[in-house]
């Protein structure tokens, strides 16, 4: 009974470079949070303007209501993001080392 010899390991001649490049540094979280707050404030201002226009008789009721609704959505979204942020912070602070 013959046992075949173990062949030499053939090293790959070329190693193809990894195609995945390190991701470009995304905008910092604080930066995007600031942007979110700016957007929320802008939609609130737009709602304010629409309501004022309506009261002056230059705007439509539905336009004002839609602007208010938009502002509400933006605010609700911001609040959700803030809740998640606080929750993440608390989770990390509770972590036992």
């Amino acid at each position: 009974m013959s046992i075949p010899a173990i062949g030499p390991l053939v090293a790959p001649s070329t190693v193809s470079p990894s195609t995945s490049t390190s991701p470009a540094p995304s905008a910092g979280f604080v930066e995007s949070l600031g942007k979110l707050l700016e957007t929320t404030e802008a939609s609130g201002d737009a709602a304010n303007t629409a309501v004022e226009k309506m009261l002056d008789g230059r705007g439509e009721v539905h336009d004002a209501m839609i602007a208010l609704q938009r502002a509400e959505f933006a605010l609700q979204f911001t609040v959700q993001v803030r809740n998640k942020l606080v929750q993440a912070y608390q989770d990390i602070m509770r972590m036992s080392v």
Binding site: E60, H62, D63, I66, Q69, R70, F73, Q76, F77, Q80, V81, N83, K84
Partner: protein, 140 residues
Amino acid sequence: MSTLNAALNASASALNAERTRIEVAVSNLANAESTRGADGKPYRRRDVVLAADHSFEKALGEAGAIGVKVAAIVEDNEPFQRRHDPSHPDADAEGFVAMPNVNTPEEMVNMLSASRAYQANLTAIGLIRELVQKALELGK
């Protein structure tokens, strides 16, 4: 949320367009008996021409919702109705008065159709609002 935003914009533009239709129908009804307009002639019935507004689409790239805009408010060139009323100050030599070319039942139907369309767009906005609220609940 950009798609829903585009849908909201489209519905808002439709609300404005339908409001214009209602306004014009109301003005036609109000002036159904006006024998003197700005040019001294009887009131001419007016009609709203609506057009698809592609400016949203361009602004938002591939958004699916296309708004609507009032392209023009045109005057109806149907001949005036003639009513025999010799005592009327605007009666001609034969005793006929030229009355506006407004057909009241027709205006009522136009007004009803515009008001239904307005309500339909309000429902659409309510639906979008519900969807966004449900989506926000994902974070809770």
